[in-house]
């Protein structure tokens, strides 16, 4: 063998060795890429499942359209949709229904809950599962008043001075039944409606609407329901399974609105710069929450939006990236600034809150042999 031949042979050996080395390098990289794809596919499936359980964010006019794609795992026993109860007073054809008028009139705090919608969500099913005894007590006590909670109650409106319920109450003496449980009941008429008043409380029924509150507030409460909504108020603004409007005085107090020495966290600072907030939420397995805030005069809504985005980014940084569920929900969070309002969309875990925040759920815990979850 010549030296040239030895050199060629050595180069062939070196080339084969380099080829093997390169192959090993490619194999290592391909292994990582493959594992990542497999992990990502698993995470993607999980993400799709989570997204399927998020209801659509509240939108104007949502009652006229299907609000959520029904997930495969959704419970099938959703109660059949019933037509909304007829308005009790057909005297004014163009007016909004009484409970919407009740909500639209100015108040420091007012909330409207679509009970009928909430009762048929997986989240509420979980609550019922957790407190079966408490739920049974509520339904039984309401039955004594003539109300089937799961079928008769449509909406509940609450404010600091009292509340109103709308539902299928026409022809049922619900208010009279409530009053019969009080002592020293006085009965009188106001604007053609009968009021039942005890020393401290009062109730009235206007067809399908019940109004309850302190004795001194019952007449203004009834006025809220019977008078037409203010001309400037748009009934279409009231949407979402849960609707809350507040000027934040109850939450922050007038003292905390003043500039003081303590530096609040970014989200508190955003809240303190708002003059009013409207919170709307749709509920299914999870909660799609939409917050609309009006800034105080002199506050730049774009600055507030930037502050809210910063606060959200900080919160996202605190999340465990391996938790696909929470990461998916965090990806749905959004902050927008319109001309005169700050808009924040958040998707919140609903039933999972019981597990993640360790809320007690005694009804779902395994029972010891011979012990019943529901009291006899």
């Amino acid at each position: 063998m010549t030296p040239v031949g030895q050199k060629q042979s050595g180069e062939r050996v070196r080339a084969r060795r380099d080829l093997r080395t390169a192959g090993a390098a490619i194999l290592l990289l391909a292994l990582c890429g493959g594992i990542w794809l497999w992990m990502s596919a698993t995470a993607s499936e999980r993400r799709e499942k989570v997204l399927a359980t998020v209801p659509t964010f509240p939108v104007r006019g949502q009652d006229q359209q299907s609000r959520r794609a029904r997930p495969a795992a959704a419970p099938q026993e959703r109660a059949p949709d019933r037509a909304p109860p007829p308005a009790p007073e057909p005297a004014q054809p163009a007016r909004t229904d009484p409970i919407t008028s009740f909500v639209l009139k100015p108040a420091p705090y007012v909330a409207l809950v679509h009970v009928n919608a909430l009762l048929n969500t997986p989240l509420f099913a979980r609550i019922k599962e957790c407190v079966p005894v408490g739920w049974r007590q509520v339904t039984e006590s309401m039955e004594q008043l003539g109300i089937d909670v799961e079928r008769d109650v449509d909406r509940v409106a609450m404010m600091a001075d009292g509340m109103a319920l709308s539902g299928f109450f026409e022809g049922k003496p619900i208010a009279r039944n409530i009053a019969s449980q009080w002592s020293e009941v006085e009965e009188r008429s106001y604007r053609g409606q009968t009021l039942w008043m005890s020393r401290s409380r009062a109730v009235a029924q206007v067809g399908n609407l019940l109004v309850l509150g302190p004795r001194d507030s019952i007449e203004p409460l009834l006025d809220r329901a019977l008078d037409p909504a203010p001309a400037a108020a748009d009934p279409q603004d009231v949407y979402g399974d849960v609707f809350v409007r507040t000027d934040l005085t109850a939450l922050l107090g007038s003292e905390s609105r003043r500039d003081d020495a303590t530096a609040p966290d970014p989200m508190s600072a955003v809240l303190q710069a708002l003059s009013s907030v409207v919170v709307r939420a749709n509920v299914w397995d999870l909660v799609a929450l939409s917050v609309e805030g009006k800034p105080q005069s002199g506050k730049d809504v774009r600055d507030l939006a930037s502050m809210a985005r910063g606060a959200l980014a900080v919160a996202k940084e605190q999340l465990d990236p391996g938790d696909v569920d929470l990461a998916t929900l965090a990806s749905l969070a959004k902050v927008d600034a319109s001309k005169d309002a700050l808009l924040i969309d958040l998707a919140l875990p609903g039933s999972e809150l019981f597990d993640k925040l360790h809320f007690p759920c005694p009804g779902a815990e395994p029972q010891a042999p011979g012990v019943s979850a529901v009291a006899p």
Partner: protein
């Protein structure tokens, strides 16, 4: 680094912020433990990026002088291969970085504890993750150095790699659950700098540590070192 730490600990602003954090009393779910975890996560993130960026720039200047033909003639006269020299350079720089990261990690942990902030002991493991990330970048820098033996170019390659991986790791497609077949595979083979940063934050927050980001980045480093061996063997001029 230690001198900077010393002056930082004596800084009135730092002392004031630490005192505010110590005095912070929040209700609800933000209790002292949650606050300590949040501080730990922030400290881990700061430690990770500051040490990583600093080390990438400085380490890039080591290898080029060693590869100059006039300097390594005697070295290569010994019974060692060029591939062994490449491995030696990588290991020596890596060992130096490990020592610096380790000491700095202990200094950060001790400093925060001295300030009265009850950060999690997991913060002490953050240098391990910085080491993994550094090794991945330095393997690329060493490869560039063999191809073009210039210190400045190596530093540029190191910083560009770091920035590119930072951007890539933050893209939507690189998040779990968003991967598409081809792009997902591409992101899968890259070093997981951003994921390692998140793992570091988990350690700082007293949570467990995921293995994939570490394993994947180590695999990339090994693959890159294999390529460096090939280039080193063929670098005889």
């Amino acid at each position: 680094m230690l001198v900077t730490m010393f002056f930082a600990l004596r800084n009135d602003i730092v002392q004031g912020m630490a005192a505010s954090a110590r005095q912070f009393r929040a209700g609800g779910i933000v209790d002292g433990t949650v606050l300590a975890h949040a501080l730990g996560r922030g400290a881990a993130a700061g430690e990770y990026w500051s040490l990583l960026v600093g080390s990438v720039v400085l380490s890039a200047l080591f290898a080029p002088p060693l590869l100059e033909p006039r300097r390594n003639t005697l070295l290569l006269a010994q019974p060692i291969s060029r591939a062994d020299v490449a491995n030696g350079i990588f290991l020596s720089v890596w060992a130096l970085a490990v020592a610096i990261f380790g000491v700095s990690g202990i200094a950060v942990f001790a400093g925060l504890r001295l300030l009265g902030l009850p950060v999690a002991p997991g913060l002490l493991l953050v240098p391990l993750l910085i080491t993994v990330a550094f090794a991945a970048i330095y393997a690329g820098v060493l490869l560039a150095t063999y191809l073009f033996p210039n210190g400045l170019l190596a530093a540029v390659v190191g910083m560009t790699t770091l920035l590119a991986l930072l951007v890539a790791g933050n893209t939507e497609a690189a998040q779990p659950g968003n991967a598409r077949p081809l792009a997902g595979f591409f992101f899968g083979i890259l070093p997981k700098l951003v994921d390692l940063h998140r793992e570091a934050m988990r350690l700082g927050g007293d949570a467990g540590m995921g293995a994939f980001a570490i394993g994947s980045t180590v695999a990339y480093t090994l693959a890159m070192l294999l390529v460096v061996r090939i280039v080193a063997r063929r670098s005889e001029r």
